[in-house]
């Protein structure tokens, strides 16, 4: 799109004024108050109408540009658009702006002029115009207003399609990577580890049960001691038994069994000795024997006397009892005396015989006692002589037997004690062996548990290593997730991003205008501008003013291009934009403008200026331009 001709019927100070523009660079020169801004406003008013809205001071644009000399208020403007020439005519006097559109080449009046014009402007709104095409004094602050408009523009744009595709592919790539990593992790490691640790804790708890304490050393020690004691006392018992056997043999050989038997033997010996003594004493007394014989002799004599008497008596007629015998002076009845003599004889003989018999029996007894004693003494003292000395010796011997019996009884007691201890020891040993058996069973249990515990610990260690490896993989997975998150956050934002639309063109321009000092830039969503340097993105504020101008310029052109969307190029209108520039800055800016898009179809640029600097610089640089003086 190009501005071709302005025909101002009446607008501010201008009346019936015609102006023609060239296709490339146009310099509109006019001193201050020459009406450059008025002309600028006229162009805008032709495109978008004149606002009747009053500002705070109660002034409206409409009021401001009322023609000074009255008369008609408006005019026309011819544009090259869509390969044709279009004339826009407006009469601001009319209530609603009276817009007429005519195709100038055929003088064909366009129906529905408002809609058509809008359509032809390709979505260029008044605001977009103000912020892009129409450029006031170039100051950083003034650019802030661009942000909202840019955002508006961008929101209507599509064309992040490739980014969306990239996003989908990138996410898929990350997903695949994650899957790959996930396959390398052992998901069951933690649960297996926990299970093993649980089992380990249980086993350790079980093993700490006091019943599993290793008491084997105590009991084997005890058993060994018992075994030793058993051996000792068994030996003792053997010895004792031998001794006993011998003693009992001796005793039984001698016919003794116990103390009573010795007592009885002694008593018997004593009695035999006493008998012996008594009888031998009695037999030694011969008087008694003589006396007994004498008695017998007397008895016989008595009996002879009796016989004599009886014969007498029997021969005496007077009767048996009448017969008397006179012996000396004495007279004795023969019969009675005979009887007396018989009785006496009987008594004497009986006594004498009895005495003799008694003596004989004593002799028998003595012999018996003698035999017995001889036997006793012979058996025990080896001396058959019967004497009290022998008896003494016997008694001494018997005392020895008594001692022996005593010893035997003591030994028997000892033996029975030993037997009792043996029984006890055996019992204890058995119970000890049983305990040891149990302990050994428990030891086997402990060892089984320990073996399991040790292998569980080893497994747990391995799992721990796997978990550590998993964790490091998980960190990678977390990083992948975070990357995904970042990308998705980004893809949400990218649709509204200004940079994505502006960067490419702006970067291309910046490369041109900075002579390659910067090859790319980034416009943030807040319209903050960063320049890509080797190490970081540098905010525009840190650059020199000249560079900033160039960049803003580049950005503007990019923004305009964005609105154009590759269709027709809009003109750029600079309204005293470079007033505050020093010469160097101006040179640079003009250079940039001239260079911008120099390779393609040139863009129409209209620079309003109150200086001649622009002209002389362009002349110096040999850049062609069209000069319009007001």
């Amino acid at each position: 799109m190009r501005l071709e001709v302005l025909q101002i019927e009446g607008f501010g100070k201008f009346h019936n004024r015609r102006m023609e523009f060239g296709s490339g660079l146009n310099i509109v020169y006019g001193k201050n108050e020459a009406g450059k801004s008025t002309m600028h406003t006229f162009i805008k008013a032709m495109l978008f109408g004149l606002s009747r809205k009053r500002n705070k001071r109660g002034e409206s644009e409409y009021d401001r540009y009322e023609p000074w000399k009255g008369g008609s208020y408006g005019g026309s403007m011819e544009l090259s658009v869509a390969g044709r020439r279009l004339r826009i005519e407006r009469d601001f006097r009319k209530d609603a702006d009276d817009l007429r559109l005519t195709w100038a080449d055929t003088e064909e009046v366009v129906e529905a002029p408002e809609e058509t014009l809008k359509k032809l402007m390709g979505g260029l709104t008044e605001n977009a115009y103000k912020n892009t095409i129409s450029i006031g004094q170039l100051e950083a602050q003034t650019e802030k207003g661009m942000a909202g408009e840019f955002r508006q523009i961008v929101s209507n744009l599509t064309g992040t399609g490739s980014s969306e595709l990239s996003y989908d592919r990138a996410i898929e790539y990350l997903e695949n990577k994650k899957k790959e990593l996930s396959e390398r992790t052992d998901e069951n490691a933690v649960i297996n580890y926990t299970r093993r640790m649980g089992r380990i804790r249980n086993l350790e708890r079980e093993l700490s049960d006091p019943k599993y304490e290793n008491r084997l050393p105590v009991y084997t020690d005890l058993r060994d001691k018992m075994r030793e004691r058993l051996e000792d006392i068994s030996e003792e018992k053997e010895k004792l038994l031998l001794k006993l056997e011998k003693a009992e043999g001796t005793l039984s050989e001698n016919g003794f069994s116990d103390m009573a038997s010795v007592d009885a033997y002694e008593k018997m010996s004593d009695e035999a000795f006493a008998e012996y003594e008594k009888n031998s004493k009695a037999l030694k007394n011969k008087a008694k024997a003589v006396f007994a014989v004498a008695l017998c002799v007397l008895g016989v004599l008595s009996l002879a006397a009796a016989g004599y008497l009886f014969i007498k008596a029997l021969s005496f007629p007077d009767g048996f009892f009448a017969c008397s015998i006179i012996i000396g002076e004495r007279i004795f009845p023969a019969g009675i005396n005979g009887i007396i003599f018989i009785i006496a004889a009987l008594i004497l003989i009986v006594c004498g015989v009895l005495m003799l018999f008694r003596r004989r029996s004593r002799r028998l007894k003595l012999r018996k006692a003698e035999e017995k004693l001889k036997e006793i003494f012979g058996a025990h003292i080896g001396n058959a002589e019967i004497s009290s000395a022998s008896l003494g010796a016997l008694k001494e011997r018997l005392a020895e037997f008594r001692k022996l019996i005593d010893a035997v009884s003591r030994s028997s007691k000892e033996l029975s004690d030993i037997n009792e201890e043996l029984i006890k020891l055996h019992e204890n040993r058995d119970s000890c062996t049983e305990i040891i058996g149990n302990e050994e069973k428990l030891r086997a249990e402990v060892e089984d548990k320990l073996t399991e515990l040790n292998s569980l610990k080893s497994e747990a260690e391995e799992l721990k290593r796997i978990i550590a490896a998993n964790n490091s993989i998980k960190e990678d997975i977390d990083a992948l997730d975070l990357a995904k998150e970042k990308l998705s956050e980004l893809s949400g934002k990218i649709r509204g991003s200004i940079g994505i639309h502006l960067n490419k063109e702006a970067s291309r321009l910046i490369k041109d205008v900075t002579g390659g000092a910067y090859d790319s830039m980034d416009v943030s969503d807040d319209m903050e501008i960063f320049l890509n340097t080797e190490n970081r993105m540098v905010p525009i504020e840190s650059l020199s003013a000249g560079t900033m101008d160039q960049i803003y310029l580049a950005l503007r052109i990019s923004a305009v291009k964005l609105i154009e969307r590759g269709a027709e190029k809009y003109p750029l209108i600079f309204d005293d934009s470079f007033a505050l520039y020093d010469d160097d800055r101006l040179k640079m800016a003009l250079n940039s403008l001239a260079k911008a898009e120099a390779d393609r179809e040139p863009r129409q640029m209209i620079i309003f200026s109150c200086h001649h600097r622009e002209e002389s610089f362009l002349d110096q640089a040999g850049i062609k331009y069209n000069l319009i003086r007001i």
Binding site: R443, N454, L487, T533
Partner: protein
């Protein structure tokens, strides 16, 4: 009197059970002990001191029998064993009722034991670790006092220092031993062999390494104590373990390609021995196209772990210039503008995102 001091034999350990060489490693601990026994035979060792952790866990009778069989093959060497932290004595320990070969003394009491070896004119003061917490310093002091009563003997201290790592305690222990009549104090509990007092007190270190936490050489300490001076004129470390765990750190830059890196790694490993086990740590900036992946090397060498701490060296500036108007540029500019220090996670996420964007982009074009 010639002795061997060995510690932390760790029979039963299985440190690389999830690796292809795990089985061999599991057998190493017993095999290395066998080498020690052979060494004892070879050098006519009088006394073999084991300062704890003969086993890495509570030993069962089968394990004790195996070890006992080994020791019974050196009847001329007295073996004195104390328990350490891993095989500490418990009330249920099988070792309490184990019958050792006659040349082996295993300390089973809660207090220290005085093991008299008249033939060697030596007394070993030895204490095992039990479940009860013990005051090591007090125990050593007690043993030192007891040993002080018989300075005419070669007095040796043998114990595991479960307080290893407590530096204050270590200084005190050193001072007590320095002032004692011990000719040698054999300590256990430290990973590497270390002389706490020159030619008088040492940790034997682990006989065999158990993983990357125990790098370096591992073996035994051999000493000769003179009967006359009760001092040690000769004291040597002899390497016993065939395998070492070796961390290798390789710094690369963007000029190093994947193949070059692999060649470097292979070279480093060959230089140090193929049987050893390696942990690789790759640092530095890598070319984004360089892949840190040693899958094929892992088939040839024992690489336990690879830690990739490299960062792809993206030229963000260039990338942005190439992608000013798409999601790549959009992302990169957000990264470049963000001057905050990124945590490692954020950093990794960023590289992943860039990688994802770029590699899909490349595929597309």
């Amino acid at each position: 009197m010639r002795f061997i001091h060995v510690s932390d034999i760790n029979i039963g350990a299985n440190p690389d059970s999830d690796k292809s060489w795990g089985k061999e490693r599991a057998g190493d601990f017993k095999d290395t002990l066998k080498k020690v026994v052979d060494k004892a035979k070879e050098i006519d060792c009088d006394l073999l001191l084991i300062s704890g952790n003969l086993f890495c866990h509570q030993p069962v009778t089968r394990e004790l029998s195996e070890v006992n069989l080994l020791f019974s093959s050196i009847p001329a060497t007295r073996v004195v064993i104390v328990a350490g932290s891993s095989d500490r004595l418990r009330k249920n320990s099988s070792v309490l009722s184990f019958k050792w070969s006659s040349n082996v003394s295993c300390v089973l009491g809660e207090n220290f034991e005085k093991i008299k070896l008249p033939a060697l004119h030596t007394t070993v003061y030895a204490a095992s670790q039990t479940e009860e917490k013990r005051d090591i310093k007090a125990l050593i002091r007690e043993m030192s006092e007891e040993a002080g009563k018989e300075p005419e003997y070669i007095n040796i201290l043998l114990m595991y220092n479960e307080a290893y790592g407590d530096e204050d305690a270590e200084v005190e222990i050193r001072d007590i031993i320095a002032g004692s009549s011990f000719s040698y104090a054999a300590l256990g509990g430290r990973h590497e062999h270390y002389e706490l007092i020159r030619e008088r007190c040492a940790y034997a270190g682990y006989l065999s390494p158990v993983g990357m936490s125990t790098p370096g050489e591992h073996g035994i300490l051999v000493g000769d104590i003179s009967l006359a001076s009760k001092r040690m004129p000769g004291f040597d470390f002899i390497k016993m373990a065939d395998i070492a765990y070796i961390p290798i750190r390789i710094e690369i830059n963007a000029a190093v390609s994947s193949d070059e890196l692999k060649r470097t790694v292979a070279g480093e490993i060959e230089k140090r021995g193929e049987k050893n086990i390696y942990k690789l740590k790759i640092t530095g900036k890598r070319n984004p196209d360089t892949v840190i992946d040693f899958k094929d090397l892992k088939k040839r060498y024992r690489i336990e772990e690879t830690v990739d701490e490299t960062e792809p060296e993206y030229d963000f500036s260039k990338l942005f210039a190439e992608h000013p108007d798409d999601i790549i540029g959009y992302y990169i500019s957000s990264v470049m503008k963000d001057n905050e220090d990124r945590g490692s996670l954020e950093k990794r996420a960023m590289y992943y995102a860039v990688d994802a964007l770029l590699s899909t982009e490349r595929k597309r074009s």
